[in-house]
Symmetry: C2
Subunit: 155 residues, 2 copies
């Protein structure tokens, strides 16, 4: 009984934090944390398959298909985190001002990335290793690279 | 031409980091960062729908269906981040030693969470608000809460 109460309390507490944010804005620092989390996971699932496309990691069609499917969902998650409210946030971020001064170009870069991932997902269904590798490289160059080039501070 | 070279360099650099890790282990600190990223995104997509289930946020069937589908993918992502190598990591983590001392119980908690999310996804397809709300609360209690109760340090 005590445990059940605790768990119910947990669910309530978790929901409670969102009461305010539903009608106002999620705190800018949280938005930054969430968008960085999406980027971290995209790196987790893209990095190894980029290595496979370059022949640096043994090729695994299964891993590529799984990671491509994950990326196809993850690539929808970062963008609402780049809200105007995060423009002058004090937490560490590599986001460049161009994100907010050139929104159409930023949007276009997102779409280019998402199309490249869609083409990769389609390629994984053909089973053709050369097409799959080339689709992976295109996600890196035309997707990640293209956007980071213009909208992310260099390391 | 210069830009093309830069972008090619980017893709190579991204893949390069994974050359070593393919045959050895991803660094424990990176694993922690990746698993925390998965938890952050699960919070992003679960929090608001928990608020909806509790009537604290206006109910939106569309948001619930979208978030449930996201959670159904995100819930596959944290677990490989709890590798043995991260047991004594020095970066900040709320992971409790029970994760490694009670692996079967930890695995069971993951599966309970994943089933709860599957039942939520199924519920969203019925369109029945009461079932959907109850399925959301069950993800919170039997999923997040159950696992955090035993395997995560209290805040």
């Amino acid at each position: 009984m005590k445990k059940r109460l605790l768990l119910a309390g947990f669910a309530l507490a978790l929901g409670a934090g969102y009461t305010l944010t539903a009608f106002s804005q999620v705190k800018p620092e949280i938005l930054v944390k969430q968008r960085q989390a999406a980027m971290t996971l995209q790196g987790k699932y893209f990095g190894p398959i980029a290595g496979m496309a370059q022949g640096k990691i043994p090729y695994s069609a299964d891993v590529i298909a799984r990671n491509a499917a994950y990326l196809d969902v993850l690539n929808k998650m970062p963008w609402d985190g780049f809200a105007e409210s995060t423009k002058d946030v004090t937490v560490k971020t590599a986001a460049l001002p161009a994100i907010w001064s050139e929104p159409a170009k930023f949007k276009e870069a997102q779409e280019k990335f998402q199309s490249a991932v869609s083409r990769l997902v389609a390629a994984t269904k053909t089973g053709d290793e050369a097409s799959i590798k080339s689709a992976i490289l295109e996600v890196g160059k035309g997707g990640c690279g293209n956007c980071h080039q213009n909208f992310r501070q260099k390391d």
